[in-house]
């Protein structure tokens, strides 16, 4: 029982065309940059994977990570709460040109739908979005005199997440607000691949401090000095690197 994968290329090798992929991160924190870039490397080398559905709070920032995935044309559809961005314009342009699909979901509903997917809850009711355009077509029911909207679970074929410490069984901890959606996505994907800043032997994480128990994690790959998306974007990084 050792879930370590020796390198990033191997970690993402099994993701096929058309897969639904949850990717951790909120704004610039928690994005598994190295896993995403490994996916881009594979696409540039082999033409695959493409036609992906990506689930993330945003639709990419700058020109790295998810933004770079979209720029490469690997993404067919985004599921997110806040896809608007001044930079890059690529999602905006593709969306307005009808080249990329968008499912817009309120942020708390997105989180809860993902948790529901992981917890075996096929549907739940929430007050969020009642009476708005985002509730259109969804069943509505009243409980204790208040109206609620029915929402469905959200699952994925893969989750790519970034964690701080991971043991060989896949138990994970996170770093500050980089936690965000990742523990939920780990539950909701058929296969969860975590890049960890530090891989440790079982026993290296206090059982009280485990945030994601290993049962939710398929494999871990150590990336000892991970890039931070916001830091990359402030340095105007592009992936793949723009050669001058």
């Amino acid at each position: 029982m050792d879930k370590r994968i020796p390198n990033l290329a191997t970690a993402v090798a099994g993701i096929p065309d058309g897969a639904t992929v949850m990717i951790g991160g909120f704004g610039g924190s928690g994005a598994p940059i190295e896993l995403i870039h490994a996916l881009i490397d594979r696409y540039l080398a082999t033409g695959s994977p493409k036609g992906l559905t990506i689930i993330n709070n945003n639709a990419g920032n700058g020109h790295v990570g998810i933004a770079a995935l979209i720029e490469q044309g690997m993404v067919r559809k985004m599921v997110c709460s806040f896809p608007r961005s001044a930079d890059p314009r690529v999602f905006t342009e593709k969306y307005l040109a009808g080249e990329i699909e968008l499912e817009l979901v309120p942020q708390g509903t997105l989180a809860e739908r993902i948790r529901a997917g992981g917890a075996g809850i096929p549907a739940f009711y929430t007050p969020t979005s009642y009476g708005t355009d985002l509730a259109r077509g969804k069943p509505v029911a009243e409980f204790d005199g208040r109206p609620y909207v029915q929402e469905r679970w959200l699952k994925a074929d893969f989750a790519l997440i970034k964690a701080e410490t991971g043991d060989h069984y896949g138990n994970l901890t996170y770093r500050m607000a980089a936690r965000n959606f990742s523990p939920l996505m780990a539950m909701a994907a058929a296969r969860t691949i975590a890049q960890v800043t530090q891989a440790v032997a079982p026993g290296g994480i206090d059982p009280e401090h485990v945030v994601t128990p290993g049962i939710f994690v398929s494999s871990i790959v150590e990336v000892a000095n991970p890039a931070q998306e916001e830091v990359l974007n402030r340095a105007d990084a592009h992936y793949p690197k723009v050669t001058a």
Binding site: G27, S81, E112, T132
Partner: protein, 223 residues
Amino acid sequence: MTPKLTNAQIAWRAAQDIADGAYVNLGIGFPEMVARFQPPGRQAIFHTENGILGFGGAPEPGAEDWDLINAGKKAVTLKPGTAFFHHADSFAMVRGGHLDVAILGAYQVAQNGDLANWSTGPKGVPAVGGAMDLVHGAKRVAVITDHVTKDGKPKLVQSCTLPLTGVGCVTRVYTSLAVVDVQDGRFVLREKLPAISLDDLQAVTGARLHLDGAVGDLVVPEL
């Protein structure tokens, strides 16, 4: 030119209504400014959607840790007693009624408490974030806003014409001219700038302002 409050002054006024020990979420952008004006001796605990409770203000420039940000992607700081949690727990706090106050911006607020603050129509890329969640659950949902739009149209209206964020959710509006409660489907004027007459205020308001007792003077410090 009509006198009106600056954004900082609106934020200051809203901050005066936050009780000691309150759990508060401030919407991204303008509402974040409210945190600066906590009255001395009162301590609010701030919540951000991306999984932090009890964080502190902005770090010194250059000292940012970009894994320690608020929902507006601005760097914040740790304080003794901060807690981290994931997004589902974060919105359990929101939706489950655990916040005392949420303060949001607005395009329009209707007299029945309907709020429009996420979309100006079908153009461009729609983006909603946590706004539709925040308007449900917090015990008080307050709006801070200019009293009118940039081209002078009322933001307090009979019914919203822009896409709704939530139905009947706003309880109080702090504007550049007045403090208005939403009560039983009506706007009730609580305070107004002393320099503006009731008639002039009504003229820039899109729905009837009702009175319920004395109207206080909206007095704020220079900021």
